[in-house]
């Protein structure tokens, strides 16, 4: 079995064994989305207007919370050291970690998003686009998150620093994701937004493992 498959299997096993982990991420997502009506007031029109933005922003914040523990446990218990000393290049390790993160976090978020949209009474025309943008956007977020997680490894208040690094990088995804949904609701074309999101994803797929591996090497010194 090659290193990528080994690591993927281990990550998924870990997340299965720690039962309910991704369920908790999704719950956080739902809870955070519920907070806004409290703050903003429950007027239906306004909520429907906010829906795409809130779904995307809360999904992002939920994902953000999960990044912090992406490498930290492996760093603290020496697993990362051992992975670095394994015969597989660190780039492979980085990619496997991102893939596992998406499977255990991004994917459940994608599934939960329409439910929150329902709560906010998103117009019917928006659901398809919401799903597509999430499908393109969440893997990119996972990839970018791994870079951030690796960079802040061992840093003090890593979690907050991490969010600080990752948010600016993710803003474009947020912008195009919500713009696509808004366009779909308004009946405008949104193909270009989806193309851009796809482009981001492919770009991140190639570049981020390299950056993550470099950051991990620094962290281990």
């Amino acid at each position: 079995m090659n290193a990528l498959a080994l690591i993927l299997r281990r990550e998924i096993r870990l997340s299965m064994r720690q039962a309910g982990d991704s369920a908790i991420i999704v719950l956080f997502f739902v809870l955070a989305a519920i907070l806004f009506p409290f703050g903003v007031g429950p007027e239906p029109n306004m909520l429907a207007r906010m829906a795409p933005g809130v779904v995307w922003v809360t999904a992002l914040l939920a994902a953000m919370l999960s990044f912090e523990r992406l490498f930290a446990p492996d760093y603290e218990d020496g697993s990362l050291e051992q992975l670095a000393l394994g015969p597989a290049p660190l780039e492979t390790v980085a990619l496997a970690k991102a893939a596992a993160h998406w499977l255990t976090t991004g994917f459940p978020l994608m599934i939960a998003a329409p439910l929150i949209a329902l709560l906010y009474r998103l117009p019917d025309a928006g659901y398809n686009t919401l799903l597509i943008t999430m499908a393109l956007g969440t893997p990119t977020i996972s990839l970018i998150g791994t870079v951030g997680a690796a960079l802040t490894l061992g840093a003090r208040r890593g979690g907050v620093l991490l969010s600080l690094l990752v948010i600016p990088l993710i803003i474009p995804i947020l912008i195009f994701g919500t713009a696509a949904i808004d366009a779909a609701i308004g009946g405008y074309p949104f193909r270009q937004h989806l193309l851009l999101l796809g482009g981001f994803f492919l770009g991140a797929l190639v570049l981020t493992p390299i950056a993550t591996a470099a950051a991990l090497r620094q962290a281990l010194e």
């Binding site: 007031g41 007027e43 239906p44 029109n45 306004m46």
Partner: protein, 151 residues
Amino acid sequence: MTRKQRRMNFVMLGLATLGTAAALVLTALEDKIVFFYSPTDLVTKTTIPKNQQFRVGGLVKEGTWKKPENGLTHNFTVTDLRHDIAISYKGIIPDIFREGQGVVVLGKVQANGIFRADEVLAKHDEKYMPPEVAAALKKSGKWEGGKARAE
């Protein structure tokens, strides 16, 4: 100071603080926190900003609700038995909406003084009975509905 004394002091201090907390909360609850405003509020509280959405609650005034011809736009008056406000609403009303019924409407006051509602919610009281019983009660004059929940 012995351990017992010290602990006693802490307990007293804690109880005093809790008492203060309870007092604050109880004072706060003296005036109810509003989910909606009454038509009287609209008259007495001059500060309500006209450009914002808010909720008005009260009873649908007897004889003011015209069943709309086109089937969609409803015009009626909400009252708290002291002041009234005219409402205009385009949309589907709840099933128990009728004259004398409690409602909560959400919308904005327009330039012409009419309240344009975006949402009409029906508010009902805690009474449940078969229609015959309600009719009998009404006949015997023991009926006291209507004014119940108009605050």
